[in-house]
Symmetry: D2
Subunit: 426 residues, 4 copies
């Protein structure tokens, strides 16, 4: 949760513009969908698109409109039950795995819900004066909706990828048609031993898990100036990487065996050639593009096989401070609308394309404090059994990312755009 | 599978009329649905409505059009994979539990598929002369679609009943508003000891599992002249029926314990009052109406508690020969459009309202023969671990039922309209 | 449960002799065991041998000694919890799957328990005069212990067979060393159409599920004069029987796929040769011996592949009445101490060697009545989802079997000595 | 794995004496067992005692005797399959969950195996001169056997605790009979901000996961001078700690709900009083003794409820450097033979009694290197999804523990003697 006194926060009118802009992006992302695509949930960790669209609206209704807009009338009192994600404080909710069993409310009703919320938010932000704390929650709601834009696309990709028709979300040319035939070998950039400051110290929005600026001592290390490519990952596969336990963590090896894993998610081999499902349909694996949709176990095994390792989240942040003090323009994010990682256009680009697994467990920073009340459930309660990812992906909104941003998933999860940057000690 | 030489089969033009009539009924039953209702599959044994609509069309395409219509072009070669149910002979298919993960083909595409099949069937039945064997498969396809009309409604009921909004399929008055305040006690009708002929011996359509007329010796018995009512079943519940192992089969008692069963499916207790979800929404349990949506385990436990038993399928058929030699007009079927069982309007009505569990395992009759080829998979391979039900329900098409009709489900299944008729030995 | 007034029951002294004889057999069967063999339970349906030994004693303690021996002191009040099998009426009990987790009571304590029970039974049977009903329960206890002798050996076989050392229970020569090199083809014996009397009508002990003499009408049929041999079953395997869905019931085919079944239980292929674990260790499959340790699904698929079928339990009993009016001396039972089926020594031997799957569901006979009280749980509550087997096996005590004896297991179970006798209609 | 060149390692004769001493302790710990206790495995993570006894011998056979003793003859070539734990490099092995299904080799054979290994080790250590690297592996084998002494007791406790008879391992008075009636409140000892050196830097044995001395920057913090007691934990329970999601990590809350957790492992409530199973049988919960057999989730929830937190492993090690520069004599270890934690006899005792959960994930130290070959599987491959524990418990051998020792378990595991020491930031 973000800071509750943020003096430099944009004025309400600016906030309103940003609110409307972000809300429109969510709907724009759904334009290619058929009504049926909004409904299904092939696996518990994937939510139906209509659930994502409604849940972000429920967030504004519950945490902004109900406490702040006098006389606010709920759109439908049942919706809390449907669209609460995990806030125990806010009452009962649909079991996560049952979201895809709910044909009602319909997609049309969900859009009506969104537009009702938008009209009420317009009233709130346009006609009333909010306290800083309430403004902060609006900001959190906007950031939250941006997070769900990313989830909406990864969930949708999972849905369409598991349909034997391999439907196309956005047709058309891969942006990398003119990629050079071979990538130069990665360089390993050196970062010296020392005490580094970690965590967010700016004045703008950040999540509570980034707060608590603190020092971390790092020994000297080197970090790759680019992501691992598909071509490099195919070498690992060709040399039997998935069949040699020596490269794997014990839990990873069990996962490979039990799930018969032999390639990244969404890869299919047809007549000796590797294809991957993308939001542009089934396409040949592009050798120059970064490998993606891999678990931490695969990232770690790949690194072990190369005689390298994954960086820690602190090494990544220190390297970023040195080599990418601002987010480079060249980085590939949601707004590029490629919806797939593309070959890197320049070296030492630490952002975008794919989230980078680190070998850091997702744990609290010193002096970490949960917010009081339901919003205290936003981040802190997930700090166990997950690993940190850094850098953002090709479907992360550009305004959403920064050097201190800590994403986190379980080590076996693959449906996000995840990838590998290698490191080693000096 | 029905007999392959059926001289009295209606002429092609009549068959065409019946074909069109049945096909239209399927679509009529879907008129109250929202697009989203067509998609979901809350549990493996329930199919999405769009799957049901497409599967019956695939049956005509695969078993009628492809072998008989010269130059027939498949609507979409991928559809076989999606819409094959269980015919191993006809190739690979979607795993049953994954039907609800498929947003594509869309409902609109499924309707286009239906209409394409209809146009081709019109050409086939209107313009060509079919051999008796091909006509028999058309007839089987019609009967098959009637079976799926019943499944479509039971599946839809399961889908809507598991939505917390309890959506209404068909609003409006329960047909039994004028039911008498109390039912007279059931009479037990006597049937004498003797050899009875079982199985279908007419000239019209029947399924292969009814064929093989044979004699069965029955000791004298008595059978109730009406179904067990909700009021009677509530007595069983009130006396702790669900909590006393002595009434239950061992497998039934395990099922009750593991699933915490304490009432029929779709029943909810609110402030001391019992409600049940019906296709008209959540309604008070009607005491006079037959109890329904119960497993064989519940039926058997109820009977044991009453000091009675379930009839065998042969006793039921013998009683029917004696008391209902033709299907009575008063029986409640799909065409009554009540979509719920209603209090019985007269005694000794052996048909309609709810399927009656028998204590007969679903096993082959003497001289049973599977049809050759894929249609041999229609019935025979399911003859294990299932129990026979007789009589048809309030959503069975009237023209589909007869005294020899053998329905079958596993003893724990409850989403069909299932009920109880008691019996005892003399 | 047997009849409660059995005038011809042996006098107490005779009963005592039989009691002692049977009890000694149970212990004799355990002589080859190591202490550790008494403890383990590799799968829920297998009980540790020490559990079997104690449970049969608990039966005498609970149903005979406590109600009938004045001043009887329980050996240990905790033992009821450990050694009750499934009698809900008699209180709480160890979960079946946890029997193998109990290192205490030790084997030595279990033997002490047995000997205490024996001393008390000696007092009861030797010094008191029992009512007919109590005598009947003693008889039931003896029959019950005989059933558990068979279970003890099948459970032990399962335990040892799953140990990579393949320990030997009883070493030494297969009894069939001199079997002829090839078996003559089976003859199919004809049994005429007619009404047959089924069920037990003698004066001696029988189980409640055999009672209720009743008539069954059978069409004419033929039944094989011998069991299916391993050589014949190997033909089925060689012709791809396990890989062709057309031979299989739907539930059977799912079972084959999910469990990757490709041979009878306990078979291992080494360098192209088939071996089977026997109580004499791992041995080559003997072609002439009856195939055993197969599920009903395999029996049914084999029959379908041969163009035959399994008999019903009534056909088997009618054939027995005709061809084996008394149990032949040549039949192979427990007392032969082969502990494995052997090639049949003469044709038309309907008993012994392996239990024969029938295509009859285990359901009550007309007028079936459960006994009152806990012993009413002996049989009746299991009458669902199981199939009947007839004839007894090489480890069934000879005095335990008769023409009307109905054994029953679930169709997928294989750890009993189960086999195949074919039938067909005339 | 320890360093491969350890010049100060004891001479072979000393090593032999230590070898024999440790080996005898393992057998001494088993003296109270019945043969049956050696066999059972109530849950996959618990190994049968005979497996533990044999596995540590297999370790010496595989990694010491086979490579180093010329002409060494394996005791039994099958034993590798039985007694390999997780070394993929060393070939196939029994599935972990099946260890308890193996009645053979018997306990007697396992002891014969041990004594054979001992005789061969005597020959090796007494008669040959080993290279430093081989000596290091002997040392590792000794340390490994000490680890398994602790596991043997925790596994045995789990086995006996799940037996309704609650068998006594070692009878007799709790050592804390004279504990003071109330404990003074814990003091929080302050440790200043700064760079601390972590990891093992001595000359003696340590595990590979402790190597790599490195600096860690710590903010100032306070750490409790004693463990959380049962009395304090009972307050948490009394105030509904197990029923209030706000104290719990999300994964912890799911674990509580799914497993219906409402007290530490081995606790039973009888007539309002709490009892716990101990190796001395079922006893009243001693209020002054440290709470034990809790998961990290419980430890974390307790700390959150108190407004404190768990220390990191680095904070623990820094505090230990300051307050317990050597392991205090007063600490309670295996050699005290209490087999249960006892009330702390003095403040600021960081060692013994119960392992202390830290909020540090088990991850590699900088420059961590796995050993080459099979022994590289000793530690490194487990560095995922586990949390670090520090300090040793009442059943840890005293010579086995040190400030840098990193134990690790999954956050839900409770069968080790685990407990809580609180911390907070200054």
């Amino acid at each position: 949760m973000h800071t509750l006194t943020t003096p430099s926060l944009a004025l309400p009118t600016d906030l309103l513009t940003r609110y409307q802009h972000i809300r429109q992006w969510s709907e724009k992302l759904c334009q290619p969908l058929q009504t049926e695509d909004y409904v299904v949930q092939p696996v518990a960790f994937v939510s139906p698109p209509k659930w994502n669209l409604a849940h972000v609206s429920w967030f504004f209704e519950t945490f902004v409109l109900k406490p702040n807009l006098p006389g606010y009338q709920e759109f439908n009192p049942d919706f809390g039950f449907f669209f609460n994600s995990y806030y125990e404080s806010v009452g009962q909710r649909t079991l996560r795995a049952h979201r895809g069993n709910m044909s009602r409310p319909t997609t049309e009703e969900v859009y009506a819900y969104r537009h009702y919320i938008d009209s009420q938010m317009l009233k709130l932000l346009g006609e009333t004066t909010l306290e800083a704390q309430a403004l902060a929650v609006v900001e959190l709601g906007i950031q939250h909706e941006q997070q769900h834009q990313e989830l909406l696309l990864t969930d949708l990709k999972y849905i369409l990828a598991h349909n034997p028709l391999f439907p196309v979300y956005q047709a058309g040319g891969a942006a990398w048609a003119s990629a050079p035939p071979t990538l130069p070998a990665a360089n390993f950039l050196e970062v010296g031993e020392g005490l580094y400051q970690m965590g967010y110290k700016g004045q703008d929005f950040c999540f509570d898990n980034e707060k608590g600026v603190h020092r971390v001592f790092l020994p000297a290390f080197r970090i790759a100036d680019r992501l691992v490519s598909n071509a490099e990952y195919l070498e690992f596969m060709a040399e039997g990487g998935y069949h040699d336990f020596r490269h794997w963590l014990s839990a990873g090896w069990n996962w490979v065996q039990e799930n018969k894993i032999a390639s990244p998610l969404y890869w299919h081999q047809q007549e000796g050639e590797w294809y991957q499902y993308t939001l542009a349909g089934l396409q040949k694996v592009e050798p120059q593009a970064p490998v993606t949709h891999i678990s931490l176990y695969e990232a770690d095994a790949y690194a072990a096989w190369r005689g390298k390792r994954l960086p820690t989240e602190f090494e990544w942040e220190a390297a970023c401070q040195q080599f990418n003090p601002v987010v480079p323009e060249a980085a590939c994010f949601l707004e590029n609308e490629t919806y797939a990682p593309r070959p890197e256009s320049r070296p030492a680009l630490f952002y975008g394309n794919v989230w980078q697994w680190t070998n850091s467990a997702y744990l609290p920073y010193p002096h970490y404090q949960k917010a009081p009340g339901a919003l205290g459930e936003y981040n802190g309660k997930f700090m166990m059994n997950q690993m940190v990812l850094r850098g953002g992906s090709c479907i992360t909104p550009r305004s959403h990312i920064r050097a201190t941003y800590r994403n986190f998933f379980h080590p076996e999860e693959r449906w996000q755009f995840t990838g590998i940057r290698l490191a080693e000690y000096c």
